[in-house]
Symmetry: D2
Subunit: 348 residues, 4 copies
């Protein structure tokens, strides 16, 4: 069975999900919906992606000689599910205006409220909750990274009492030239907890998660400083082993391998030939992993542009009952050329 997928919104997330869908043998990208005929449209067409647009925008595309395959309606009638990667809040509108009336299933992104979907999703942490669902929300980049991190220990049988995470967020994505800040640290928000803690708890309700967040003038990756309070003992060695064998988590070593900063993690991804220099895995700083009594401290880098891509794929598999959790995770990771060596896909 090949699931026919339509994509709404071809921005930072959308274009990556499009490439990922095209790399899967159990999915087919029928087309993407674009509103503006810009260089991203050209790139899509050169990749063999069919563009669809709103009726009143077709002429704009044609005027610039960019071929449109049809209207939004045309696309919608040819797909089994829509992956919606429009800006925050637009997905919810699309649900009411398009997906529900048309009886379409949909995957939403983390910029939507949890209520938009039947379940908030992270593959490692709660794949099974999405099985057979109509509307699934893949949680945001920060929430995905925290869910994976907590999930890694949970699937290994550890119990966690409380997580306090401190988020240093990138101010904007690389191509967003109007967004700041430039020379500033922004309280994002000034209140505690930031929305991320409660958001993680939509995926993992059993752990108490408190987060604080600020935004800084970088475009690279978010940086998390995490404190996890275990219910019971854990050693540093155990923690390292858990992270080493958990899929979608990578360890970056500073002392020997000289990863001194987030930019160097991206440099590595560029050097090894990752498309767009993307790092879809949590990038945990190995040297930072420290245990004091029952508390684990660590830092991780979160590549906001790409980290949710694998989860979008897995969400579709769960919704259509294509495979079980670990088969899906493994299949996605292989197809996307993530690091699979040393990873354990037979957990829990």
């Amino acid at each position: 069975m090949v699931i026919r997928i339509g994509l709404m919104g071809y921005g930072t997330i959308g274009k990556r999900v499009a490439d990922a869908v095209m790399a899967m043998d159990d999915m087919e990208l029928v087309g993407v919906i674009k509103q503006t005929p810009d260089y991203e449209s050209e790139v899509a067409i050169n990749k063999g992606i069919r563009l669809y647009t709103y009726d009143d925008k077709i002429s704009k595309f044609e005027k610039l000689g960019i071929k449109v395959a049809g209207t939004v309606n045309d696309l919608i009638k040819s797909v089994d599910v829509m992956i919606d990667a429009t800006p925050d809040g637009v997905g919810a509108e699309n649900k009411v205006k398009i997906y529900e009336p048309m009886g379409l299933r949909a995957v939403f992104q983390g910029g939507e409220e949890a209520e938009v979907a039947d379940v908030s999703f992270n593959a490692l942490a709660n794949y099974d909750m999405a099985i057979g669902r109509r509307f699934v929300r893949v949680v945001s980049c920060n929430t995905t990274a925290l869910s994976r991190l907590i999930g890694a220990f949970l699937v290994h049988g550890y119990r966690i009492r409380r997580v306090r995470a401190y988020l240093v967020r990138r101010g904007a994505d690389p191509r967003e030239f109007k967004k700041g800040p430039i020379n500033d640290v922004v309280f994002n928000p000034a209140t505690v907890p930031s929305h991320h803690g409660p958001d993680v708890m939509t995926v993992i309700p059993t752990v108490d998660v408190v987060t604080m967040a600020v935004a800084v003038p970088t475009t690279m990756m978010h940086l998390h400083m995490v404190n996890m309070e275990f219910d019971g003992q854990i050693t540093r060695g155990e923690a390292v082993k858990v992270l080493e064998e958990t899929p979608r988590v990578l360890l970056f070593n500073t002392a020997f391998r000289k990863f001194d900063s987030l930019a160097q993690i991206i440099e590595w991804a560029r050097d090894i030939g990752r498309l767009r220099g993307d790092v879809m895995e949590n990038a945990v700083i190995e040297d930072s992993i420290t245990v004091f009594q029952n508390e684990l401290f660590l830092m991780q880098g979160v590549h906001q542009e790409s980290i949710v891509v694998p989860e979008n794929i897995d969400a579709v598999r769960a919704m259509f009952r294509l495979t079980d959790k670990w088969s899906s995770i493994r299949k996605t990771d292989s197809a996307l050329n993530l690091v699979t060596m040393g990873k354990n896909y037979n957990l829990t």
Copy 2:
């Protein structure tokens, strides 16, 4: 009694300490030692500050028409104490080469190891430890801010079990044009704890302090996200009251007064006419003060360029037994035009 002060190093910290000393009626700035005849030398002279330099550098100054009052030796013979604000590690060399041989007292900065001095100093937290000492180290900007914060609760009789603080450090001071990073978050260091936690414990040995730190591309202020675990109860209202009445701590409100970021705290300082736009107080974000059970969360901004200035003044008073702790703090704050309204100078 007027203490005669010489200053070694006229950079970010030194020039501010110079201005501060000149504002005190119980101290006299005899002169500062400069190595290079640049615009900062001109500024000093225009402020009526006498410049001294090394024998072999006098001609460099004269060639550019910058008047030198004498040599390092000349200055040293005319002072009761040297405040050393040279770069990290140079102070320790100066101690061995100059201060000890000449029987001179000295104040050092936080870039030196704790061992350089008899005591690591923060006015609020351990003024009395410096009374009568020969060598005192004013701890670094981050350590000063954490010591004040913890000290505020201690002088109000609260007991604190543990502090975990997450530091988002500015990458460089405004005028340091060669230092980065530009678009990066640097693990600073990658290991846990960063040196700041142990450094706070040189001032306040009774509280367990763990810190993690990263550096980001800003020049403005450091940002701390702090978690304090109390031994016993505290309410949000109590915490706010403690901070409101503690000298050298200011509350900045986001919701009503619209302080959305660190840059706006500096904007305020510029607007009210603070010299150089300096904020010598801890800048606590009022909205972030949150209590969960016995844990207090908050954010604070730390103006690295100026926050240690008042402590340099108080250190001198303690060393020469000029006044007691609270008299010194009050006297310094008034002379430097810090916020004194609503502050309680009769604590403990």
Copy 3:
């Protein structure tokens, strides 16, 4: 005669103009119009400035305990002229809705189209054109800086055939935390000429000015790289002399005085005690002044936040025929503590 002034808009430009007006003995700041009761309102009140607001906003101020002196209408009836420092385009609306109907005179800023006023104004370049006018537009920061630079040579009798200027614009003002770019150079605009060249020609129609502009991730100052083609000869020595004696132009030397970057020019302003660290003068890099045949090359820094402030004051004097050009420039410079030593206020 004391001119009674009202100020509309109390942001980056407005608050500086307010302080400047208060420093003049021939002007009185009756009050400023504010829309939001934030920390800037508190600062204004602490400076003794009366706040006025729109009828429907009074309660918002009162709720936060910020005293309002009256409504917009109240202010308007008590002034001779309004200085409008609202965001781009709002000034034009205010003209139609308020100033013209009320028969009020007004000074506008450079964010408005030239058509908003009877004349586009720069004190050095065309003071006399504003004499007696009702509506005057003080041109933007970049245009002001270029007008002064070109004006400096014109008032010294040089003839200039063509100016080509390349603008490296700061991305946002220090407190604007939402504006970028972060790690990018933005074509601002991609077309040639940028609006600045034609805008300079609204002030100096006799010189052909072509400009190109990009925006970069700084908040400090604009940087201009300028090429001036003279009609006839000029030597480097002459050029230096012209700039040395022209008011509102300062030379910053790199080789000896160690001004290596724009941040160090601001550092100097902070160090000498300029309010807010402002530099209202053109900051010409002395070392960059170079003559090849009849072409002069140079770099200048432009402090966007403050450079237009003196011109706002002079504009009022011209409109009300308070003094002649050079008397006004000298009076403004003295009152604002700009550098007057070595400046020639008897030019042309």
Copy 4:
């Protein structure tokens, strides 16, 4: 004939040249010399690159389990030419210490003085000057970009009298986390001309080139604002056509294709799957191409990390007389997957 190549220095430039050499069928990468066993060493080995190091560093590599193929001496004896991509000045030392004594040929980079080599090289502008030479210097990124731009018009038969170029340099490469500036524009240098103008004239001595340069807080690309004075007429249409058909020059359109900034050019390269998101071509902003009389204005982006890579390949071909100029350029461009469509490889 296959040229056997050794690489000295595996940093920003070196690692890209290594990948490029491996893509050529007339060259063989024998190995690269590394000093430090870091993540870049691992990446190299995973690409199948043999590592060589200095005798005294072998154990450092072995301790971390990184396989070394031999010593510097071993490598040197097995190659026809060394490409030296060490930091500024080290190449000149290597020449004296290694290449000359061993009778080895070498390609140097633009960080070396022109005197290090027999010729300063740009493929488009002076390929033939390097034919048969022993030591060739590929000029720096900025010089390469200007040489290509001027060369493009020269090979089309236009005559250029003078070029004035204004360089907005990126402050550091993405992975250089210690280099700034952060919130500053640095005079780089303060004097006119910057070294770039004279450097272009080592390649193209017949055109007078004056440059000014500043450095800004970005890591992306340099931005040039260029003014070219033609000897004779040129129309905008002609200029566009010249650039369209010249290899290694790409036009990026803002108005229709929405390239608003340098970051979006890199975004495009990432999206189309360029390794590391590199743009080895000059990125000319089409909308900026403007002609006033005999003067052409334009902006171009220069991807400092990769732009000199093709020239390193061509330099080898010229030195060993492998092919003629246009055959080499075409062969390099095809192998590196640069844009070849629409390009004219039969110029002059």
